[in-house]
C-alpha cells in the first residue's frame, strides 16, 4: 500500500545542506503492524512525516495506494491526511479547553458532513479505545495514558488506512504503555495498518516487523518471530 523508493530528504540551513534521509526504499503492506526504530537524528521522524504527507521528499518517489504522492497539491495532501492517516504524537496535542469528545470530533470538521453524525462517530471512536465514559472530561482531568487514548480515538475517527504514531508512549509509565500498545494491537487486528516510531526495543519487539534506521538509511528490516 505504501511504496517508498530511494527517498532522500535534505534540509537546507542557509548554506549548509543537512541530509536527513539518504535513499530509503521500503514497502508497507495493508494490515501490517511495524515499528521504525533508531536513535534520535536517525531520520525516523522525517520518514514518518513524509509517509504522513506532512513533508515532501527532496528526491525519490512515494506512492500510496498506487497514487503518486508527488503529483498531489497541498489541498489534496490535507485531504489525504484527513481521511487516510491518523496521527498520534508523543505530546498528545489535545486542545486543552475542549472536552475529549470535541477533541475526537476535530478531524471531522475538516471532512464535512453533518454535526449529529460527528458526535456519534466520535463517541464510537472513544468506545474503541475504552474511554466512552470520559467523553465530557477535559484533557487536564485525564491521566497521561487516557489522554493518549483520546488522541488515538481522534486518529481513528475518520477510519484511516494507516495510523502513524511518533513515540506514542514516550511520556507514559509502563502500565499505560502496555495499555496503549494493546490498543494499537486491537486496531491492527481490525485491519488498520499501524506504524510505530520509537527508540525503545521493548516496544518494537511487540510489533511484527522492525525497520532500523541509522544516519538516514535502512540498516535492517526484519520480521519479528
Amino acid at each position: 500500500m505504501i511504496e517508498l523508493e530511494n527517498i532522500t530528504k535534505v534540509y537546507r540551513m542557509g548554506e549548509v545542506e543537512i541530509p536527513a534521509l539518504r535513499g530509503i526504499t521500503l514497502s508497507i503492506e495493508k494490515g501490517e503492524m511495524l515499528s521504525i526504530i533508531g536513535a534520535s537524528g536517525s531520520g525516523k521522524s522525517t520518514l514518518m512525516n513524509i509517509i504522513g504527507f506532512l513533508d515532501k521528499p527532496t528526491l525519490g518517489s512515494y506512492s500510496f495506494d498506487g497514487a503518486d504522492v508527488s503529483q498531489l497539491n497541498d489541498d489534496k495532501l490535507a485531504e489525504m491526511r484527513n481521511r487516510k492517516i491518523g496521527f498520534v504524537f508523543q505530546e498528545y496535542n489535545l486542545l486543552s479547553r475542549a472536552s475529549a469528545l470535541s477533541n475526537v470530533e476535530l478531524p471531522l470538521i475538516y471532512s464535512g458532513g453533518r454535526l449529529k453524525s460527528k458526535s456519534k462517530l466520535a463517541t464510537e471512536a472513544l468506545e474503541r479505545v475504552g474511554l466512552a465514559a470520559r467523553a465530557n472530561h477535559k484533557p487536564t482531568e485525564l491521566s497521561g495514558g487516557e489522554q493518549q487514548r483520546v488522541a488515538i480515538a481522534r486518529a481513528l475517527v475518520n477510519n484511516p488506512d494507516v495510523i502513524l504514531a511518533d513515540e506514542p508512549t514516550g511520556n507514559l509509565d509502563s502500565v499505560s504503555t502496555e495499555q496503549i500498545i494493546s490498543v494499537f494491537r486491537n486496531l491492527n487486528q481490525e485491519g488498520i495498518t499501524v506504524v510505530l516510531v520509537t527508540h525503545e526495543m521493548d516496544i518494537a519487539k511487540q510489533t511484527q516487523r522492525i525497520i532500523r534506521l541509522y544516519d538516514g538509511k535502512v540498516i535492517s528490516d526484519e520480521k519479528v518471530t
Binding site: 512525516n49 504522513g52 506532512l54 513533508d55 497541498d74 489541498d75 490535507a78 485531504e79 491526511r81 484527513n82 481521511r83 496521527f87 504524537f89 496535542n93 486542545l95 479547553r97 475542549a98 476535530l106 478531524p107 470538521i109 475538516y110 471532512s111 464535512g112 454535526l115 481522534r154 475518520n158
Partner: protein, 416 residues
C-alpha cells in the same frame, strides 16, 4: 456548513479568553460608539438649524451695518460695525418694488421694574411689522402702532413670561413699568410662544416703538449725527425675487450713503438662505472633524485587534500544527482566524452601536435652554457602523490569519 462550524470555533475560542476578548473589543466599542454619537449629534444639529430657518421663512433679508475697513470682522463682531443705518433708510426701502414689509429694529438687554418686582428682558425698539414678521398673537391689549411710532409714545408690549414675572396673574394692560428710570405704560401682552431655536425666549421680551427706543432708552448716532437703527429686516414678496431685491437695496443704500464706485459698502445685506448656508458649512465641517477623531479611535481599535490576533496565533502555534496534521487546509486556518477577528470587531461594533444609541437618546433629552438637539441614529448610520466593523475586523485579521495559515505543520507541532 463549515462557515457555521468555524463561527462556533471562533466563539468558543473568544469565550475561553473572556477578559482579553472584552478588552480588545473595548477599542471597537469606543471607536464605533464615538463615530456614531458624533455623527448623530451632527445630524441632529443640522436638522435643528434647518427647522429654525424654515420657521422664520425663506423670503427675509437682513440689512446690517458693516465696516468698510473690515467687513469680515464686522460680520462676526457687530461692535466693529459703524452705525450707518437710519429710519430714513428703512423708509426708502419701503418704496422698492416687491418689498412687502420693512422692520427697523434695535435691541438691548434691559432691567424692567414694576412695583417691587423686577426682571431682565430683551428690549426691542421696533415697528408694527415686527408682530407680523415673527407671527405674534396678542393675548390682551394691542400691539404698538404707527401712531405710537410717530409720537414716540412711552408704551410697551410685554412678552408673556415678562408679564407674568412682573404682574403675576394680574392683567398688566394699563399698568406701568420702569426701564432706565423712565416710566412706560403697558398697552399689550403677547401669547406665549416658547423658545426660538436660536436659544432665546420669545416670551422674555419688551417691545417699544423704535423712535421711543432711540430717544428715551438707548440713543445711538450715525457718524452724520442721525439716529441709528441696529438692523433692518426686509420681507420680499416671494423667494424668487430675493436676488433682485437684494441688488435694489444695495444700490439704494450706496446712493443714500454716498459711497463712491471704488469704495466698500458700510452695510451688508444677508438672506436667510445665505445664513443657513454658512451654518450648514460650519456644522458639516464640525461633523467631519469630529468624525475624523472617531475614526482615529477606530484605527486604534483595529490595531488592538491585529495585535491580539498576532499574539493568539503565536500562542496557538501547536494547535494550528495539529489542525493541519489532521487535515485542515490553508483556507480552513485562514477562515478560522479571520472569523475570530471579524467577530471581535462585529460584537465590539454592535455594543458600541447600542451604547451610542443610548447616549443619543440621552442627548436628545437634554434641555439646552429651551431647545434640544434631536440626535438621530439613522438606519444608514447603523448599516454603516456594522459594515465598517466587519471590514475593520477582516482588515486587521487578514495578516495574522495569513501567518497562521502559512505555518509549517511540522515546525508548528514541535513549537515551544
Amino acid at each position: 456548513m463549515k462557515f457555521i462550524e468555524f463561527s462556533g470555533i471562533a466563539i468558543k475560542s473568544l469565550l475561553s479568553n473572556k477578559l482579553r476578548s472584552a478588552l480588545t473589543m473595548l477599542g471597537m466599542i469606543i471607536g464605533v460608539g464615538a463615530v456614531i454619537i458624533l455623527m448623530s449629534v451632527g445630524a441632529g444639529f443640522q436638522n435643528m438649524i434647518t427647522s429654525t430657518f424654515e420657521e422664520l421663512g425663506s423670503n427675509l433679508l437682513f440689512v446690517q451695518p458693516s465696516n468698510p475697513e473690515a467687513p469680515r470682522l464686522a460680520a462676526i463682531a457687530p461692535g466693529y460695525a459703524t452705525a450707518s443705518l437710519t429710519m430714513d433708510d428703512a423708509e426708502a426701502m419701503r418704496r422698492i418694488r416687491s418689498v412687502v414689509a420693512v422692520n427697523p429694529t434695535s435691541e438691548n438687554f434691559v432691567k424692567v421694574i414694576a412695583g417691587n418686582e423686577s426682571t431682565t428682558a430683551v428690549i426691542e425698539g421696533s415697528t408694527p411689522e415686527f408682530q407680523h414678521l415673527y407671527d405674534f398673537t396678542i393675548a390682551s391689549g394691542q400691539f404698538i402702532s404707527e401712531v405710537n411710532i410717530a409720537r414716540r409714545d412711552m408704551v410697551v408690549v410685554l412678552g408673556s413670561k415678562t408679564a407674568e414675572d412682573l404682574f403675576g396673574s394680574d392683567d398688566p394692560v394699563g399698568q406701568h413699568v420702569k426701564m432706565r428710570d423712565k416710566r412706560f405704560t403697558v398697552i399689550g401682552v403677547m401669547e406665549p410662544r416658547g423658545m426660538s431655536s436660536f436659544g432665546f425666549s420669545w416670551d422674555e421680551m419688551v417691545i417699544t416703538p423704535i423712535t421711543t427706543y432711540q430717544a428715551r432708552l438707548f440713543a445711538q448716532k450715525t457718524p452724520g449725527g442721525q439716529d441709528a437703527v441696529q438692523s433692518i429686516v426686509v420681507q420680499a414678496a416671494s423667494a424668487e425675487v430675493m436676488d433682485e431685491v437684494t441688488e435694489e437695496i444695495e444700490n439704494l443704500l450706496r446712493k443714500r450713503h454716498r459711497i463712491a464706485e471704488d469704495e466698500d459698502d458700510d452695510f451688508a445685506v444677508t438672506s436667510l438662505e445665505q445664513l443657513m448656508g454658512t451654518f450648514e458649512t460650519i456644522t458639516i465641517a464640525l461633523t467631519v472633524f469630529l468624525g475624523l477623531i472617531g475614526a482615529i479611535s477606530l484605527l486604534v481599535g483595529s490595531i488592538g485587534i491585529m495585535n491580539i490576533m498576532l499574539v493568539s496565533v503565536t500562542e496557538r502555534t501547536r494547535e494550528i500544527g495539529l489542525r493541519k496534521a489532521i487535515g485542515a487546509k490553508r483556507r480552513d486556518i485562514l477562515m478560522q482566524f479571520l472569523l475570530e477577528a471579524a467577530m471581535l470587531s462585529l460584537v465590539g461594533g454592535a455594543i458600541g452601536l447600542i451604547g451610542a444609541w443610548l447616549v443619543a437618546q440621552g442627548i436628545s433629552l437634554i434641555d439646552l435652554g429651551g431647545f434640544t438637539i434631536n440626535a438621530v441614529v439613522s438606519p444608514f448610520i447603523v448599516i454603516l457602523a456594522i459594515s465598517v466593523s466587519i471590514l475593520i475586523g477582516l482588515a486587521s485579521g487578514i495578516y495574522p490569519a495569513m501567518r497562521a495559515a502559512r505555518l509549517n505543520p511540522i515546525d508548528a507541532l514541535h513549537y515551544g
